[in-house]
Every structure is written in structure tokens, then in C-alpha cells.
Symmetry: C2
Subunit: 219 residues, 2 copies
DNA sequence: GCAAAAGTGTTGTCGGTACACCCATGC
DNA sequence: GCATGGGTGTACCGACAACACTTTTGC
């Protein structure tokens, strides 16, 4: 048996909701063994940082995103998951508003948003990581306020509903949705309206709290 | 800055319910820097195994328990969590029936069950790991059938209720409990009775399925 | 016969779901 | 004036919580 050095990496599934669709940010690899393939952004952890710090650092380095909602998910450790050598990877989930812009560095051939439920063929075990992240995001949406990290500081209830529908993958009744969202105190009215659209102006809301808390949003 | 080798370890919080109390198995360290302190069983992962395999292996080695329910929880990675050197650790949750017997090896000064909500002072960051494991176990009990791994193959509804009460930390109404447990199809009657106690014999049940599945048990 | 746990049914309340119409604006 | 999305109230139903007494056994 050859001795192989054991490494620790992080990978991040960054999601946003754009045009009523849940999308994930992927970067395109330049070099073998995954040349041309798409992958979740990530990399090795450094000696004096936690895995969450490493995920933030790698995310900024490879996507240009900073100060995002980020959460550890699960550690993937199949011995052959990385053809370049033994390496476990701690998968993370990140959320950004649709206004976020992606910009990778020149070590990669590109970066773009993809439909989270129909990704292209992915490098490493990133297909499993992505599926796990989507599943966790769905669950978290129902009992936490994480949706705040997917929207601008103010938003209409219609925009919020489209975020929920895109992630849960099912339509929701607007009357019941509004009643529940307001009943649990998830959002507060700002008093402002969104004008300029070709239809009736909608009230603008903001989240009551803009850091992660548990709150039974649905059911 | 000194270069430090990055290691990967696993630790396991093994729970059981005995005498209406949630208990966790701890081993006593023999050597510095944690001489005399109690800790969760665990150890380094080997080159060709997943972290879950490592957790099973370390668990058998250090507690004598085999073939137990085991699940990955969370990766702890504070740079200073291990005074012996940089090492991240993947925490796991394990469940065994109250009949399981603990037996550690001679590298440790002892092994015993402790009340999960009042552990002794623990080595490393195991206090945080244990707290996280208890929290996760409470949550999983309500939407999965994991309780099967805490009981013998057949059991009375009273025994099952005591498991739920011990983990959730609150009394439950026996009428509502029995109705719900049977309504969701968690258990099936065996037709046998438990006799020999100084009171009315109780029906014996078994779990409808004895592998992990999601099922809304409570609320 | 007594202590100890098992077993059983009903009622009230609350929350969730289903559902249709009018409103305000931009063009 | 028309197309588009915003905004609102009610009625039904099912699920959950609360609650007390009788039964069966070992000693």
C-alpha cells in the first residue's frame, strides 16, 4: 500500500433564486483530471482556520462573493473521491441575493449560474454534494428565516413567495402564504411601496431579523 | 509560523436510554494532556476508509460495541481544539439498546454511562459535541424511526414511551402517544404479551421497519 | 386485597387549506 | 381600457391536546 497524505478541503454550494428558479454557482476547471468540467467552488483548508473560515475564503477567492450566509453541511470522505489524492471535503451551503455578481480568477475557465435541479456533469462527488445541499435548503426554509439572505434588504411579498416556490418546487396560495409569513413575524412592513412596474404597486417589506434564527415558517 | 500536520479524527457520542434517563458512554483518559478526564470515544481515520467506517471501527475498538446505528453529525475544526496538534474531528451520533455492555481496552482508565444532560468535565471540545448530538437526537426522534435502535427487538408501548420521554425531557400523555405511534405505522403488534411483572401484562410490539426511515412520529 | 402499570374514548379548540373577486398602476 | 400582478376574508375540516376510570396481574 502506498502511503498517501490525508488532506482536508471545503466545497461550497452557492445558491440564489433568479427568475423563479433555484440556481447554483459553478466554476469550470482548466486542468486535468477534470479539464472542462464544472465544479462547486472550494479548496484546501489552511493550518490556522476553521472549515467555515476556509469556505468563506475560498468562496471569495473563486467567485468574488463576500459576506454571504454560509453553513456547514456534511463531510464527504469516500477514499477515491479525489483522483489527485486522499482528501476529505466538508461541504457547505451558501445563499446570496439574485443581484450578486460572479467573477472567478484566472485559474478557472469560467463561472456561471445553473439550474440547481439540472446541473451539468460535475467533477469529484459534487453531484452528491449538490443534491444534499438542495435537500437541506428545502428543509431549512421551512423552519428558519434563511430566506433573508436570498433577497435585497426590502422586497415585496410576491418576491418572497417566488423564492419559496422556487426552492420548494411547488406553487403556494398567496393568501395563505401572506397570512402565515406575517403571523410568525418573519417580515415587517416598511411603509414604502414598489412603484414603476406595469401593475399595482406592492408594499415593501423587510425581514424582522437578518441573522439566522429558527422560526416555524410553514406548516 | 510552525508547520503542523493536519489530521482527521472521528468522535462518537453513543447514547442509550436506561431507567428513563438518556445516557452517554464516556471513556477515561490515561495519559496527558487529559489524564483522568472523560471523553467521547474516537480516534484518527485511516487512509482507505470513510469517516463513518472509522467511527464504527473506533467505536468497536474503544467500547466493544458493534453493529450500532451510526450517523455523521458535524465537523469540528477550531485550530486549537486538540492541544496535541492540528486536527479536525468529525462528530458522530450512535444509539444502542440499554442491554449493550461497555468494555474498553487497556489504553484507557475506564468506561461508563453518564447522564447526557449532566456530563463530567470533558476533554477536547467534547462538551460542545455532546450538546450538539443531544440536540440532533431530539430533533431526529420526532421525524424518524431511530428509536428502534434504542430498544430490544420487541418491547411494550410503555418502554417506547419512556424512551421518548427521556430524550425529549418531558412527559407524554399515554393515550395520545399510543394513538399517534400506531397511526403513523411505526410499530406492529407481535401478539405476544410481557408477563412476569407485578402488574397487568402489556402487549409486545416490534418496529414496522428496522432501518432508518423518515416518518413524522410527533406533531 | 392491594399496589402497580396497562389499556381505552370523547370533546373542544386551533390551525391549515381551499377558494374568487376587486384594486391600482403602466402602457 | 386593458393587461398584469397585488391585495383581501370566510368556511370547512382534520389533527392535536386535555382528560379519568377500569383491568389485570404478582405478591
Amino acid at each position: 500500500m502506498t502511503v498517501r497524505l490525508l488532506g482536508v478541503a471545503v466545497d461550497v454550494a452557492v445558491f440564489t433564486v433568479r427568475a423563479s428558479r433555484l440556481e447554483v454557482a459553478l466554476i469550470r476547471m482548466k486542468r486535468a483530471p477534470f479539464e472542462g468540467k464544472w465544479a462547486l467552488p472550494g479548496g484546501r483548508i489552511q493550518t490556522e482556520e476553521t472549515v467555515e473560515d476556509a469556505a468563506q475564503r475560498e468562496l471569495t477567492d473563486k467567485t468574488g462573493l463576500a459576506d454571504v450566509y454560509l453553513e456547514q453541511l456534511y463531510t464527504f470522505s469516500e477514499p477515491d473521491r479525489d483522483p489527485q489524492g486522499r482528501c476529505v471535503s466538508v461541504a457547505h451551503l451558501a445563499l446570496v441575493p439574485a443581484t450578486a455578481e460572479l467573477r472567478t480568477n484566472d485559474k478557472y475557465a469560467g463561472i456561471d449560474w445553473f439550474a440547481a435541479d439540472r446541473p451539468p456533469s460535475l467533477a469529484f462527488d459534487h453531484k452528491a454534494m449538490l443534491a444534499y445541499a438542495v435537500k437541506r435548503l428545502r428543509a431549512k426554509l421551512e423552519y428558519t428565516n434563511v430566506a433573508y439572505s436570498l433577497l435585497a434588504p426590502t422586497f415585496t411579498l410576491g418576491e418572497l413567495q417566488r423564492v419559496y416556490e422556487a426552492i420548494l418546487g411547488q406553487p403556494l396560495d398567496p393568501r395563505n402564504f401572506q397570512r402565515r409569513i406575517q403571523a410568525v413575524g418573519l417580515v415587517l412592513q416598511t411603509g414604502e411601496m414598489r412603484t414603476g412596474q406595469a401593475n399595482r404597486p406592492a408594499r415593501l417589506f423587510r425581514f424582522a431579523v437578518r441573522r439566522p434564527v429558527e422560526i416555524a415558517v410553514l406548516t
